[in-house]
Structures are given as structure tokens and as C-alpha cells.
Amino acid sequence: MLIITATSVLAQKVIKVDSSHVMTLRVDPSNASGGNVSDVFAEVNYIPLETTDESLFGSIGKLEVTDDYFIILDHNTHCILIFTKTGKFHAKIKSTEGKNMIYDFAINKFTKQITFSRDGYKNMTTCDYDGKVIKTTKLGGETAKDEINSDNLIYFAPDKAIGTYYYNEMDSTDKYYKTFSKSLILYADNKHKVYAHGLPFKKAESKLGNEILYAGNSTQNITNAGIDTVFFYSKAYNYSIFTITPNTIKYAYQLIFPLYASLPIDFSVNPIYKEKRIEYIEKHRDAIFSLTNVFQSGDNLFFKASIYGTTKEDNLIYNLKSGNLIAYKHIQPDEKSFYLPISEDNWNFAGMLTNTGGYLYTAVSSLATFTAYEQNKDNKDVRNLHYNPVLTQYFKKGNRKDNPCIIQLKLKNDL
């Protein structure tokens, strides 16, 4: 038994971080510009999600887009909902009543499966896109040395996925210590066995796991870069972005923000901030404490730079060629978006949810779309607006309490 463990440990490959080509991006959110929807986007499509008693949900906590479906996690109803690409309700996977909820899921586009746990990670359940259970796999548990008991995995091959681990203080004598416990990035097979890992954190950072503040709904620190085998990972509290591929980890971008919007450079390692980091952020309401939801579309880098205070300059588009910076929430609806909002001015608005097939995806609530619809009726400039058939039907039959609308966006390349 010992020998087997030893071999599996030995078999784990450690991937070194390549820091040879770090690109420094200077970003001043307060100088981000706006523009009209048609200036920024080549394509905008609203996809209202069908509302029935069965399909009613709160907001999109996680969105995966496959060839045929939108797969959604809702933290209000603790369900995974599957809608067709036209927004028609297809299937639903519920949490088990009285047990642990579904907190996350992973999809394997190669095998067309959804994997999640609804019993506190004792078992992983695998469903097909119709929501039918294919199998339930028992995990080795928290003490299995080489196993990752998480459903936040992104598959880049039918049997290979990338995942993340958290900052921790465990040492090798700890009961829950795993062979990859000191790395932030891990590579696992479809049985959740980790076969490689990388991006180690420093000892001084080991306490951070308890001190990370999440910036609202659908915060993702690992995202699909738009190509199936390239991912972005953003490190807590230091504005660095890594690109992860099946075999490499590259320190790709270092963002620099103006002083007023920055955390101290040594915020994640200096012991004077120990156990005071969240308090610091609550007091310094203009400081960017979280850099997440990083996506790339052509030459544009999209990311969410969250502050504790109120701002419209949190979701940003940075053009890597021109250096132009656009604040997503300042982009003004126009005829291209039927004068409907592409963002919402509340904490719930997730920003970009995913990036697939050349499109970015976000969502807005029906409260926002119907409020705009009513305002459009009163606005003589847009009174003769012709909504497309989908929206005409939606406004005719729906109301402000309907399910959210997914918005499919294609960024222009030359911004």
C-alpha cells in the first residue's frame, strides 16, 4: 500500500512557472471610456430564458455554454438548469432535500457530462445533458492523498482537467495534507486523481485562504481563455494573471493600477496585514481587492476589478494592441441592443460569465430589461423601436419577474 502511494506521489509531475515573458499592463479604471454598444460590439443577442414553474430560478451563478445548451448554476434554488441555445427550458438537476446543496459543477464537453456533488463531496454524481444520472462515484474522501474532491474542474480532454487549490497552512503531517497541497494549480484525471501540479504559494501566503473576500456573484479566478486548452488564473491580492495550458504555467500579465486603486504591494505576504485583510478592504473602499473573470477575445482582455465601494468601472475591457480601456458598465445601449441594458447597476451583476466560440456571455435580470422596456415606451426617440421576434414575444408574454436574459456578445477586435 505504501509503495503504491509512493509511486503515485512520484508520478505527480511538478510544472514550473515560466516567468520569462511577463507583460505589464497599466490600467487606470477612472480613465476608462464608454461608448455605444455598436462602437464596442459587433454582435449583441438577447436570449430570454423560458420561465415556467419548473424552470424559475434566481440568477446565473455559473454559466457553461455547450454546442446545444446553456448549463446554469443557481444559488437561490441550488439547482443546475439546462436550457437550449434558444432559451427553451430543457432539464433541471436538483439538490437533495435536506442534504448538502449543489455548490458547483463541472462539464466535460468531450463526453457531454455534468459532474457535481450534492452530498458534501462524499460522492460525485455524473449526469448527461438531459439531467439523467449516469453514475455516482464515491470519492476517496478528504484524506485521499492524491485526489481532488472538488467539482470546480475544467476539462481540456475527455479524461483530463485542470483545477485549483486553496492557500492553506497544512504540513505533510496533517491528516488532510495532499501531495499537491502547496500548489495552486493542479491537473487531474476524470477519476479526480491529480497527476501534476504547479504554481506553488509562499509560506507567508499560507494564511490567505481564510482571508479572501469574494466579489459577489459568479467570481471566477480560473476561466477559459476562449480556446479549449488555454486558461487564465488570477492570484489573490497581487494583480497577476497566469495562462495555464495542459503542460505549462506562464506568468503572463502583471496589472498595475494607480495608487488610489491599489492594495499595498506586499498585501498578501506582509504579516502586519495578518487577520486584518478583510477589515483593510472594508476601510479602503477604492482599492481593487479582486481581479477575476479574465477572458480574452482577439486582442481584448476582459476582466473584473472589484472594489468594496460603488463603481461603474469594475468590469473592464483592455485592448492589448491599442492600450485603450473601456468600462463595460459605461457602454451605452443603442439600437444594436434595442436600447436594452447590457449590464446592471447592482451587486448581483456578475459581469462576464464565460467565453466560448468567439462570444462572451453575460446576463441581466428581467427586472432590468422590463424597466428599460417601459422607459423605451416613454422615450420618443426610441418609441418606434422594432424589437426582434424573440424580444417582441418576450415583452408581450413575460414580466419583470421572469428568468434572466442571457446576452451573447461579440467584441469588435479594434478597440
Binding site: 464608454g34 430560478f57 434566481g58 482571508e211 478583510i278 427586472l367 422607459q375 422615450n379 419583470r400 434572466p404
Partner: protein
């Protein structure tokens, strides 16, 4: 939680931005329309929620203002045409932009197209660019109104300013609502202003001392699902301290006089005031704050409070005064309050001397069934004087997760009175008559001291250490000590048709008493939280214990003076020493279940249910010289409670709240019900004890409903409550009348008492330009059904009370106001076949007032009263009409001369109806009537002591 704040705020802004503009002033030529878009063209985006304000170029008068909508657009209607106007755009972080224009009288519209606004260089972030402050702006999550943008009379006070603000309503009772949402606290510089009575800040602080008014949601209470909305008055930098006050004297006809004085000081740390009043026109108060309210400056508006209380009986002279002081030891410079930074010491002292001289007549009808009816009349005079002084000190200190609170107060009072009463009773069946002449000289004095200390702690999650800390606990201790004497000499002369029943007493009562009470309450909430790490509990459990120990000692020396005697002979039957002790112990365990359901951007609902098993051990021990009063009883009861509540917030639509509570209480018999000493000098009424009296057990069920509309300028809100109670083994009177109309009263357990009670109220306000209508309606109903016993017969008794009222108030600017209201209250008691009595009071009032700024004000109010009682044959009608005309002068209108005419029609009467199961009484008394008074007042006011 944050999500909700933002949403609520968003609706607040939508309600304000919307398509409506809030016209500052309607202009006769105000028929033009202005539209445009505001942009930051450097950064290429439109500006949302920026403030657009239109001014007349000549005179810089504010015409209209609004926030830009989601498209950066503004649309003004009813703007004057043909004159030069200026639109000024402002937004936090931007340099104000302006544009001058004239609306052509022909087209009557102008499109200003795009107006650009530039950002302030961030390195100069805190530098304010000199420009007129916008009337209203969003500053992060706070809606701010800048006082300087609102042109009001120089003597205007905060109340006058609030009336100008869109969506803000100041109700007659001082409650403020913003878009229908009640302001839970009004703060000045982040602190309560003199005890938190809104009117003191609203009616004294001049508008010119105010920099801005902030409206925001208080996020401190993170557990509160409906975070309270607060309003904070930020004073100008050089107005952070000051004083204000009043000195007034009035002389009137009928030897009436009134004088008052107040001086109040405030600074960022300290608030202090001293206040006094002396009058014989029924203007009295029991505390410093009430007197402060009477001495408010008010502003350009109407001064129609602080009138004589015409309902009080007798002639009254009031002398009173006191002072309060508070000091805040916290070193928080932030004007927005931080709940956990409280560190406040407060003290109050109040002294009053009230004398009363009443002549009262009453008529009572007593139904004795087969034994006929008694017709009783009584004529009484009383002269009394009450003196009291009292003081209190409170200290509160709050930390983020702990709080301590303590208070101490003392009270010292002395009363003297001389009462005479001439009573006569006739039985309509037997024609037997009785007559009693009673005279009482009494004096009493009493000192008491009370204290309270409490400690509260909260269990909280330490983000740094990533674990829960501390306990959920409340501990408090309270004591109360009392010591006093009551002395009286009573002469009773009773004569009857049957002369053998004649009685005469000259009796002296000397009583010393003292008592002490100690109460300890402890609550430990969510016991399970100490044993679990992160998971949410299905059911939480609380432990509570309440212990109350009371000791009462009384020493009675009673003596009789024979008709020709020289000294009082001790009365062996009434002289007594008693020692009464009770211990009330109530442990309980409660189980709570909370559940919530929300759909983002749709609704938030929460339910909570709680069931508590509570036991009660009540020990009663009395040892007395009159040994038949000795008593040693212990009762054990199970007194469960249960509650259920439901909260429903439909975003952007409405919020409602329902609650249902059940509780049980035990009413224990007292010594005076069980084994009273029987004083035969009470010739008409003799109390006989009932040692077998059992405790009564009460079940209570209460339902409460509250609703308010979100958003909208003219929101509606209301509430209703219904409660029902069932008392098992109800303690009720058993009375036995003799032919002379004398009765023996015993308390017995007889059947169940069922009662039901309803109360409801509804508020709605309309604001149209400078005009505001407030409508308030109230209604109430109570019904009870119980058994009574008269002369050995048991009667089913029903009592019904109904009340209803509405008040309509109208204000135009702060200059004109009018009000109308109607109040009805009625009562009907039906005792089986024995008796039936009804009475009602119906009052209709109209009022009207106007004021010219800085000069003359006038107000008048008429009350039509209609009273009917089944004890008397006819309705009683009377009308009270009051009017004041006054003139304010000097530069800051600090001086006032006022002529008041009160009860102009000379009709005021005091009528008091009272019914119990088989009798109804109507009494009248001498009251304050018509007088005219000339008052001179000076209001010293200075805001900003350091120049």
C-alpha cells in the same frame, strides 16, 4: 445584504429620476420644456444619476432640478419661457458644467443636445470646485440634499426645508417618511439630538445652519432583513455648535398668566439644556423633553402647538423645570454614525409642583335587578398639591460585538390634599335614601431609587481567525427601592332613612411603607452555535431565565376619635404591620426556526417560528400582625409562548409583514383580594376577602400586519392588529347591594372572560408641487364577554368599545395649512337582563393657519364636541374655539408678540363617562374656560459660536 441595499437605493433613485421632475416653484409662465443629455465626452459615456438644476440667470433662483436617467437624459417640464435660464450639471468627481439658454415662447421647447462634463483631476479629489451645490445628488449609497440650493426665508427651520424635498413627508406627529419609507432615526451630525424627539431638531435648527441632509440605509445591523432608513442632518462647518432658547411671558384675563424659559446648547460632543415653565393655563409637562417641545422656535411656518389643555379638570397651577446634559466620549469625527462607537453619558433632572383645585359633580345609575335601581349623586371638592423632583443618569457604551448599558434614577415626591364629598343615593323601588358627608385631609411623601445595568454580547464570525467568537447573551439586573409615608384624617358622616344605620367616624391613618425589588434576567441565544462549526442549524435553541424578588413592608397605625374625644384611640382591627414577599421565577427554553427564500431581483421572503416552553414558580408570603392575613402559597404554572412571522419584500413593488404571537399569563390574587382589612368607614363600599380565590390563567393570541409601498412619490402604508384573549377562572366582582345602596364587594373566580381587540391605521400623503396632503385614518374595536355577579345572580356581560378617526392635513409651502379631523369613541355595556348602558363622544375639528414670512401669523381651531351617555337624558354639545394672531419681529424674527383668544365661545365643559358591569357614571367638573392672553417672547438663537 449588500445586494438589497443597492436595490432599495436603485428604486429610490428611479423614483426620483423617473420621468417626473420636481418643480421647485410653479411659475405663471412656466410652460416650456427642456431636454438634453449629459456626457463625459473625454471618456465617451453618458452620465447617469447626475444632478441637473435649472436656475434663472437673473437672481440665481432655482427653478427645477432632477437626476439624469439611465440614458443620461434629463427632461424638464413647466420651465419659464422667454427668460435667460442656466442649467448646471453636477456629479461627484466632476467639475460642474453649465449652459445658458432661453426657451422660445413660440416653440416652448428646447433640446440642449449634449452637455459635456469633465472629471476633476483625481489628485485634487477632495478639492471642491466653487459652484452652486446641486439641490440633490447621489454620493455613493447616500442620497444627499444640499440645503443651500433651497431658497427659504432666513428664519426657516429644518422642518421647512424637509417640506421642500421631493418624496419627503413630515407627518403631524413628527414622523418623517421618504417615498413612503419611514425614517427610523433622525440624527444631527450622526447623533441623537436631545433624546431623539424629531421635533426638537426639526423645529429649532435653522435651515441656514444645515449643509446637507443625508438619507441612507443603515447597514450596521447586519442581521436585520429590512435595514432601517436613517436621515442625518450635517451642519455647516461653522455651525457645529450653538445655542437656542426662549423666554416668554403672558398675561391674560381671569388672572391667567404663563411664563416659560429655555436655553439649549449643543456642540459636537455635548448637549445641554435648562428649561422651566410657570402657568395657570393647563400647560404642564412631566419631563424636560416635553417642555423643550413647547419652546421650539419653528420657522416661517405656523405656531399652533402648545395650547392649553382644555380637557383637564379643575384649576391648575403648574411650576416645573429641569435640565438635561449629555456628553459623547467617542472620538469619531465621521458625521455618518457608527452604531458601535456609542460612548454616551446622559443626565436629567426635573422638578415640578402642580396644584389643582377641582369641584366635581357626578351622577351614577346602579341597576340592582329585582331590587330596583339606585340613583346616586355626588358633589366633591378637592384641593391638592403635588411636588416631585427626580433625576436620572444613563451610560451606554457599545463595541462592535458587545454593549453595556446602565442607568440610575431617583424620585422624590410629596402630595397634600383636602377633599370633601357629599354623596346621596335613592332607591327608586323602596324610596330609601342615604346621605354621606366625607372629608379627607391627606399628605404623603415617597422616595424611590431605581437602577439598571445590562451587558449584551453577540457571537460573530472573525474573518481573520476564520472562526466564531463570543456568546450570544444578554444579562441584566435591575433594582427598585421605595420608602414613604401616607397620612390622612377622614371624617365620615352617614345618615339614612333608617336612622339605626347612621354612622359617624373620625379616623386617622398613619402608614409607613418600604419596598425593594430585584430582577435578574439572563438570555443565552442559539446554544447550539457553540457546538457546530459552519453549518447552518435546522433549529436553534435559546435559554432564558427571569427572576424577580420583591419585598414590601407596611406599617399601619389607625386610630378613631370619638365625637367628644380629645385623642385618637387605636383601632385594633385596622392597625397592622405586614411583610409581603414574592418570588417570581420563570425559566424557559425556546426553539426557533428561520427560513428564507429569495429569487434575485424578484423577491425576498423570510419566515420565522419560535416555540417556547416556559415554567413559572410564584411564591407569595405574607406575615402580618392581623394574623388572618398570613399567607404562604407557592404556585407552579406552565406558561408556553409561540410566535410566527413572515416578511415579504417584492422588489420595487411592496413590502409586507405578518406576525402571529401566542402567549400565556397567570394573574395571581393579591392580599387585598384574598384577605383585606375591612374598613367600616368606607360606608358605601365594603371589600370582603375571598381566601379561596384562584389565579386566573390567560391565553393571548395576537396578529399583526404591516404594509408599505415601495417607490412612488405618493406611497401608502398601513398596519392592523387583532388580538384575542381567553381568561380561564376569570377574577370578577361579586357585589351585594343592600336596600340603602351600600354594597359588599368580593372578587371571585367566575367562568371565562373572552375578549377581542382590533386596531388599524393607514397613512397616505400626496405631494403636488408646493402642496401637500396627508391623510391618516385610525380605527379600533374591542369586545369582551364575561360573567358578573350582583346580589347572588350571575349575569352574562358584554362590553363593546368602538373608536374611529381620520385626520386630513393640507400644507401649502410653509405658509398655509388647514386641517380637519373627526374622532369618535363609544362604549356599550350590556349586563344580561339587568342593565344596559351606552355612551359616546364625537369630536369634529377644523383648523386653519397662515403665516407671512418674518411677520404676521394667524391660526384658529374649532372643536365641536358631542357627548351622550345613557345616564343622562340629553346629548351634551359644546364647542371650543381658539385663535391666535401674532407678529414676529427683529432681524432673525427672534421676538414675538401674540394675542391668543381661547374658548372664545365660553363653552368648555368637562364630561367624563364611565361604565362598569351594572353602573354608569357621568361626571362633570370645573374647567378652564374663556380667556384672552397677550404673550411676549424672545428667542435667543446663535448657531456657530466660533467665528
Amino acid at each position: 445584504m449588500k445586494i438589497k441595499f443597492k436595490l432599495i437605493l436603485a428604486f429610490m433613485v428611479i423614483a426620483l429620476a423617473g420621468n417626473a421632475a420636481f418643480a421647485q416653484k410653479k411659475d405663471s409662465i412656466g410652460t416650456g420644456a427642456v431636454t438634453g443629455i449629459l456626457r463625459d465626452s473625454v471618456h465617451n459615456y453618458i452620465m447617469q444619476s447626475a444632478t441637473m438644476a435649472i436656475y434663472k440667470v437673473a437672481g440665481n433662483e432655482l427653478v427645477n432640478y432632477q437626476l439624469t436617467n439611465n440614458f443620461g437624459r434629463y427632461q424638464f417640464k413647466q420651465v419659464p419661457v422667454g427668460i435667460p435660464l442656466r442649467v448646471i450639471a453636477t456629479h461627484v468627481g466632476y467639475i460642474s458644467a453649465k449652459k445658458d439658454f432661453i426657451i422660445s415662447p413660440k416653440t416652448k421647447t428646447i433640446d440642449l443636445k449634449v452637455l459635456n462634463i469633465d472629471r476633476i483631476d483625481l489628485s485634487l479629489k477632495e478639492v471642491t470646485i466653487a459652484a452652486a451645490a446641486p439641490p440633490m445628488q447621489m454620493h455613493g449609497d447616500t442620497l444627499e440634499f444640499n440645503a443651500s440650493a433651497f431658497k427659504l426665508d432666513t428664519n426657516a427651520v429644518v422642518e421647512d426645508l424637509l417640506r421642500k424635498l421631493p418624496g419627503v413627508t413630515v407627518w403631524a406627529d413628527g414622523v418623517i417618511t421618504v417615498n413612503g419609507r419611514k425614517i427610523s432615526r433622525l440624527l444631527v451630525e450622526g447623533k441623537d439630538f436631545f433624546g431623539g424627539d424629531n421635533k426638537i431638531a426639526l423645529q429649532n435648527i435653522p435651515k441656514n445652519a444645515v449643509q446637507k441632509i443625508q438619507v441612507y440605509q443603515n447597514r450596521d445591523d447586519k442581521n436585520n432583513i429590512a435595514p432601517p432608513t436613517e436621515m442625518n442632518i450635517v451642519l455647516k462647518k461653522n455651525r457645529k455648535d450653538g445655542f437656542f432658547g426662549k423666554f416668554g411671558v403672558g398675561l391674560g384675563t381671569q388672572k391667567h398668566y404663563a411664563g416659560d424659559g429655555m436655553i439649549t446648547y449643543y456642540s459636537p460632543k455635548t448637549q445641554a439644556n435648562i428649561v422651566g415653565a410657570y402657568n395657570n393655563v393647563n400647560k404642564s409637562a412631566n419631563d424636560v423633553n416635553t417642555l423643550m417641545g413647547f419652546n421650539s422656535f419653528k420657522g416661517e411656518g405656523i405656531n399652533n402647538d402648545y395650547h392649553s389643555d382644555f380637557t383637564r379638570q379643575g384649576q391648575n397651577v403648574f411650576k416645573g423645570g429641569g435640565f438635561t446634559a449629555s456628553h459623547d466620549f467617542s472620538s469619531d469625527a465621521d458625521t455618518r454614525p457608527a452604531y458601535y462607537k456609542t460612548n454616551l453619558l446622559k443626565g436629567e433632572f426635573f422638578l415640578n409642583d402642580a396644584s389643582n383645585n377641582t369641584i366635581a359633580d357626578s351622577r351614577t345609575k346602579v341597576s340592582l335587578g329585582a331590587n330596583g335601581n339606585l340613583d346616586q349623586t355626588s358633589h366633591g371638592t378637592s384641593v391638592g398639591d403635588n411636588f416631585s423632583d427626580r433625576g436620572s443618569a444613563n451610560y451606554d457604551k457599545r463595541f462592535e460585538h458587545y454593549s453595556i448599558s446602565s442607568s440610575f434614577n431617583f424620585n422624590d415626591s410629596r402630595n397634600n390634599s383636602l377633599n370633601t364629598q357629599d354623596q346621596a343615593s335613592v332607591n327608586d323601588l323602596t324610596s330609601q335614601k342615604t346621605h354621606n358627608l366625607a372629608q379627607q385631609t391627606a399628605s404623603s411623601s415617597q422616595t424611590s431609587a431605581k437602577g439598571y445595568a445590562s451587558l449584551s454580547t453577540n457571537r460573530f464570525f472573525d474573518n481573520g481567525k476564520h472562526k466564531y467568537k463570543s456568546l450570544n447573551m444578554d444579562l441584566n439586573y435591575a433594582f427598585s427601592l421605595e420608602d414613604g409615608t401616607r397620612n390622612s384624617k377622614n371624617i365620615t358622616d352617614f345618615t339614612a332613612t333608617d336612622a339605626t344605620q347612621n354612622k359617624y367616624f373620625n379616623r386617622q391613618y398613619l402608614t409607613d411603607f418600604n419596598s425593594n425589588t430585584h430582577t435578574i434576567n439572563a438570555t443565552f441565544r442559539d446554544i447550539g452555535s457553540y457546538f457546530r462549526k459552519f453549518s447552518q442549524p435546522i433549529i436553534t435553541m435559546d435559554f432564558k431565565n427571569s427572576l424577580d424578588i420583591r419585598d414590601y413592608h407596611e406599617d399601619n397605625n389607625v386610630g378613631d376619635l370619638a365625637a367628644a374625644g380629645a385623642s385618637y384611640t387605636p383601632n385594633a382591627g385596622l392597625t397592622n404591620i405586614s411583610h409581603y414577599k414574592t418570588i417570581d421565577e420563570k425559566p424557559s427554553i425556546s426553539f426557533n426556526k428561520n427560513h428564507y427564500k429569495g429569487l434575485d431581483n424578484r423577491f425576498y421572503k423570510s419566515w420565522s417560528a419560535s416555540v417556547s416552553a416556559q415554567g413559572q414558580v410564584y411564591m407569595q408570603r405574607n406575615s402580618a400582625l392581623q394574623s388572618f392575613q398570613n399567607l404562604d402559597r407557592t404556585y407552579h404554572y406552565f406558561i408556553p409562548t409561540a410566535s410566527f412571522s413572515f416578511y415579504n419584500d417584492q422588489y420595487g413593488d411592496y413590502t409586507s409583514q405578518y406576525s402571529l404571537n401566542y402567549n400565556t399569563t397567570v394573574h395571581f390574587p393579591t392580599v387585598s383580594q384574598l384577605t383585606p382589612l375591612n374598613d367600616n368607614a368606607n360606608v358605601y363600599s365594603i371589600s370582603l376577602g375571598n381566601p379561596n380565590l384562584q389565579p386566573a390563567y390567560e391565553h393571548n393570541l395576537n396578529f399583526y400586519y404591516n404594509y408599505y409601498q415601495q417607490g412612488g412619490k405618493n406611497a401608502i402604508n398601513g398596519n392592523a392588529s387583532i388580538s384575542a384573549s381567553l381568561v380561564k377562572r376569570n377574577m370578577t366582582d361579586s357585589t351585594n347591594y343592600d336596600a340603602l345602596g351600600r354594597y359588599i364587594r368580593t372578587v371571585i373566580n367566575l367562568g371565562d372572560r373572552k375578549s377581542i381587540n382590533y386596531n388599524g391605521s393607514i397613512h397616505k400623503s400626496y405631494k403636488i408641487k408646493e402642496q401637500q396632503f396627508n391623510i391618516t385614518g385610525n380605527s379600533g374595536l374591542n369586545y369582551s364577554d364575561y360573567l358578573t355577579s350582583v346580589n347572588g345572580q350571575t349575569y352574562q356581560t358584554h362590553t363593546t368599545g368602538v373608536s374611529a378617526s381620520y385626520v386630513l392635513l393640507y400644507n401649502y409651502q410653509s405658509l398655509w395649512s388647514a386641517g380637519a379631523g373627526e374622532y369618535f369613541s363609544g362604549n356599550k355595556t350590556n349586563q344580561g337582563r339587568l342593565s344596559q348602558s351606552t355612551y359616546y363622544n364625537w369630536t369634529t375639528n377644523f383648523g386653519f393657519a397662515f403665516a407671512f414670512p418674518k411677520s404676521i401669523f394667524f391660526n384658529t381651531r374649532v372643536n365641536f364636541n358631542n357627548s351622550k351617555s345613557s345616564a343622562v337624558a340629553n346629548n351634551v354639545y359644546y364647542t371650543i374655539w381658539n385663535a391666535d394672531v401674532g407678529y414676529r419681529f427683529l432681524k432673525g424674527a427672534e421676538a414675538e408678540i401674540k394675542l391668543s383668544a381661547l374658548d372664545i365661545l365660553h363653552q368648555n365643559r368637562s364630561i367624563y363617562n364611565y361604565a362598569n358591569s351594572n353602573s354608569i357614571t357621568t361626571s362633570t367638573a370645573n374647567v378652564l374656560q374663556q380667556y384672552f392672553m397677550l404673550t411676549l417672547a424672545y428667542y435667543p438663537r446663535k448657531f456657530g459660536l466660533k467665528k
